[in-house]
Symmetry: C2
Subunit: 403 residues, 2 copies
């Protein structure tokens, strides 16, 4: 395993779907040794869409890179005993488990502490009361779908990004490293529980939603593509492209007015309205009017001219791209990042795969690589962690505990 | 400062807006000593909406809890010298800086290493080439707005949650703890750069978007409120409520068919279509038809009956709430979490504030509390970290370096 900031950390990953796997993958990218343990043949997330023509899951491959794969008969006592032995493996940085298993008494923290008294365990769940929840139900319950979409929508609009899963995964990853840090200092392990619904509602609290209701009695309403609390709007160019333009600071605003040659109209409007658009709150309050004033400048110009002018004026803007264009062109997010390499996935094809998103100067991160196949490292990990010899491995295979 | 898994970590936070502050707040909630350093009077994010009637920012208060606040004249050399002294403070766990400052040569990593050779510094930026970007421009550029919203939309639909900011903040927090871990082992510091645009495009890669285009030539299209790759749909009840229902596993699907009394129709449809809805891919392919079949069951019943039936059948579902209802009722996300306390904010009002989202059994986390006022801890931190006496503090005040 490559060395890195988290080298020396050995994580047993029994998590599935997005939250856990995305978090443990970040740990692996930072140099941790992450061993994903799956049932024989793979867990319920092994075949999730999108699939490659060979039936393998491109989604699974994307969320499980840089991990080793151990596959065991987790329904049987012998397979579970192997998991316990892996957790009991002595040494600093071992004895760490991430799971989202539901109703699995054999993964009970207190039971597992019997084999590893200083176990660090992160349990990801839907809700604090044990009832299930997933990203889409949680997102509905915190109210964002009623605030998303065109102002004249009469239905809620779901998000497409599983943001709550991804945030939960990073909270789990951070908790692993934090708990291991304390364990190194005190010798004490920790049971950490992180619920998707808690992540969502605490995040909305951090962003001021609860306070705004309690203190101001505010009822948030749909604002379409406007940015809440400042001035930001999407515009269409003459050739049908759309771009997002943001004036987050007073300087951004001054540049935007200048480049769109709107100073005289804006001044006259300010006078008529008794407003001062150099103040963020006034820009936000009059966002519809401002967009109406600026619109003709954008719709009279093709994208290339608009972009050229905005860039020269240092206005903050972004293209609305299509996801299939993420790696198309020298300005594409993939090309611009420099974090991606074209990686050949045998039997599937070649496509760009990113390295760690945190760029560290003093460390060469692991190269982007295909994810392991299910059970690819069973023998290797059992030999390495448990000093299992050929005879023992053959016995486990013969007993159907491994393949 | 309360002790916790990250006690002993001392972070100087010069970050603003959402990404940095949200990440450092999580560090503080896990027990790190986070000192936010602002210019005199506060940074550009100090007055962001929503505001309380007294003009204070509820948004700022939500993102900066559990931190101490130091305020300095950062435009002048004397104030910057104080920051350097704070970073140079000897001792394990000191010498950590998080910033999103742009074009500030005095915050150059190599310059700061002159005062603290093992400095850990996280620099959050928009794009790798130094050009600015914010959550809304980055989201446009990775293509999600064209996939969000009703299938008949002709315009992109922005998300409301600043998901890229929040994910970037957690990546930054994880990087701080990871880099400090390596520093304890090797004595080496680290410069870590995290760009919003990288976070967005690597995340979409992890979720399989790039692979799907490269391998399958897929062009993703809008799917409204359906869940990608499985069966999930929103439904309206007789009394006008909306709920999200998900069949992520085969067992979920079986329960949903049973509770909606749809088994006979579903069987007949499977036969007619040559489909097998016990398979996830077939459910996903025929999602429109399935929703049409199930719709009448929901629209014939009031919400309370629907929920009662779904709950008893253990179907995975969630209400579409409004953000202003987050803390309303015993089933509300706030009440259910148990992480919130009603906290009095002097001059503002009382509203619910959450503790850390990661629940740890062996640790009493810091109690939810109001955020500091700008500069509230200037004297305290300078005395504690720099052993500044009353005479020195008075001198700094007299020179206008502090207030």
């Amino acid at each position: 395993m490559s060395s890195g900031p988290l080298s020396g950390l050995h994580v047993l990953d029994l998590s599935t779907f997005v939250a856990g796997p995305s978090g443990t993958m970040v740990l692996a990218q930072l140099g941790a040794d992450v061993v994903r343990v799956d049932p024989l043949g793979g867990a319920t997330d092994t075949r999730r869409l999108p699939l490659a023509p060979d039936g393998s899951s491109l989604y699974w491959a994307g969320l499980n890179r840089h991990k080793r794969s151990v596959s065991l008969d987790l329904a049987g006592e012998a397979g579970r005993a192997v998991v316990r032995r892996l957790l009991a493996r002595p040494g600093d940085g071992y004895g760490i488990l991430v799971t989202n298993a539901v109703n699995q008494p054999w993964l009970d923290y207190d039971a597992l502490r019997g084999v590893r008294p200083d176990l660090v365990m992160v349990h990801i769940a839907g809700r604090p009361d044990g009832r299930p929840a997933v990203d889409y139900t949680v997102n509905a319950e915190v109210g964002l779908p009623w605030l998303t979409g065109p102002v004249d929508s009469t239905r809620p609009v779901n998000h497409v990004l599983p943001a709550w899963d991804l945030l939960t995964g990073l909270h789990a990853a951070l908790s692993v490293v934090a708990a291991d840090r304390r364990r190194r200092a005190t010798g004490r392990g920790e049971l950490i529980r992180i619920n998707l619904s808690d992540v969502a509602v605490t995040t909305l609290a951090h962003l001021g939603f609860l306070a705004d209701t309690a203190v101001n009695g505010s009822t948030r309403v749909r604002e379409g593509n406007y940015l809440y609390g400042a001035y930001g709007s999407d515009f269409a160019t003459k050739d049908g492209h759309r771009i997002m333009v943001i004036a987050l600071t007073d300087r951004h605003w001054a540049r935007l007015v200048e480049v769109t040659e709107a100073a005289a109209v804006i001044s006259a409007l300010e006078e008529r309205l008794g407003a001062d658009f150099s103040r963020e709150r006034h820009r936000y309050a009059h966002r519809d009017l401002i967009t109406a004033v600026l619109n003709p400048w954008f719709s009279a110009r093709v994208r290339s001219e608009v972009v050229d002018r905005l860039e020269r004026a240092h206005v903050l803007w972004g293209d609305y791209r299509r996801t299939e264009e993420l790696d198309v062109g020298p300005d594409s997010p993939v090309a611009a990042s420099g974090l991606f390499e074209a990686v050949d996935h045998p039997g599937v094809g070649t496509y760009p795969v990113p390295g760690p998103v945190a760029r560290m100067r003093g460390w060469d991160p692991p190269r982007p690589a295909p994810a392991a196949t299910i059970g690819e490292h069973t023998g290797q990990v059992l030999a390495e962690w448990l000093a299992a010899g050929e005879a023992e491995l053959a016995g486990l295979r013969a007993a159907g505990v491994t393949r």
